[in-house]
């Protein structure tokens, strides 16, 4: 069965120029490629061009694929590169200072800030509210505002489910840099959600 074709066989067929193998590759990976491309470029038209470029280069550059890495990670790598290049020079001046979104501390290491705000735990609110239109809007905007390199890490880790090591490999960065960006990005997203949810309806 086509679906059962192992990764190694699939690669061998691609190397042999088998266009049916490209169909299998598309069936298996196109939704992931699109999701990441859209997440990085932030719009449909750019995401579509990235997806096209990615599959064409996967087919044409399969010879440069080194089998010590997983095919999936390589595909994420090609996609992230293409999407980040597409995004370059186009970015809207939305990026806010990440530092403003991070928690602040007193000298003794305790959190600083309004007590009600610090104690606000909106995580137990019903899902209908948390995945409602308003929350989606806030979170989408918060994702827009993250620097591209941070957003890409969040998407690979928290959406695509890659490990820190796989993400580092896909982005050609160190694991330490991936971990640091991931944590800062999550804190920034959490902060934006908290500001919106607590302002809208009071703490808790």
């Amino acid at each position: 069965m086509e679906e059962a074709a192992s990764e190694a066989q699939l690669i061998a067929r691609l190397r042999g120029g088998d266009t049916d193998a490209l169909e299998t590759l598309m069936a298996r990976y196109s939704s992931r490629v699109y999701r990441l491309a859209h997440g990085i470029t932030r719009n449909d038209a750019d995401a579509e061009e990235v997806v096209q470029d990615v599959f064409l280069s996967l087919f044409r550059k399969i010879d440069t694929f080194e089998e010590r890495s997983a095919l999936g990670t390589w595909i994420y790598r090609v996609t992230a590169n293409a999407a980040l290049i597409k995004r370059r020079g186009k970015r809207v001046q939305l990026e806010v200072f990440l530092e403003d979104q991070l928690p602040t501390f007193r000298e003794d290491g305790h959190r600083e800030g309004d007590r009600d705000f610090l104690l606000a735990d909106w995580s137990t609110r019903p899902d209908e509210e948390l995945v409602g239109i308003e929350t989606r809007r806030v979170l989408t905007r918060a994702l827009d505002q993250l620097p591209d390199g941070y957003r890409t890490v969040v998407l690979l880790r928290d959406l695509e489910g890659l490990s820190n090591e796989e993400t580092a490999e896909a982005l050609g960065e160190s694991v330490a840099s991936v971990k640091s960006r991931l944590h800062r990005a999550r804190m920034a997203l959490r902060e934006q959600l908290t500001r919106a949810l607590v302002r809208a309806s009071g703490p808790g």
């Binding site: 501390f105 995580s123 994702l143």
Partner: protein, 80 residues
């Protein structure tokens, strides 16, 4: 016995969720949470943020785009 501040606890959140902290640090982390509702709220909302991000960013490729992709690739590959 190690004592962690709120700053230490927040620095450790990602590792805590990955379960990669040492048993000793984990014990200190949990001791801090027992006496700090602000850090508990931070941990819960941080964890929930991760989940909501995955939900919100999970966009699907439109059907017609899928068809266009196939047509594009066939054309490109025929053209050499």
């Amino acid at each position: 016995m190690t004592r962690l501040t709120c700053r230490d606890v927040i620095d450790l959140l990602a590792d805590y969720l990955e379960a990669t902290v040492s048993p000793e640090t984990l014990a200190a982390f949990e001791r801090h949470l027992e006496g700090c509702p602000a850090c508990v709220a931070y941990l819960n909302t941080y964890r929930k943020t991760r989940e909501l991000t995955a939900t919100v960013a999970r966009v699907s490729m439109p059907q017609d785009m899928q068809a266009r992709l196939r047509a594009f690739l066939i054309e490109q590959l025929r053209g050499g």
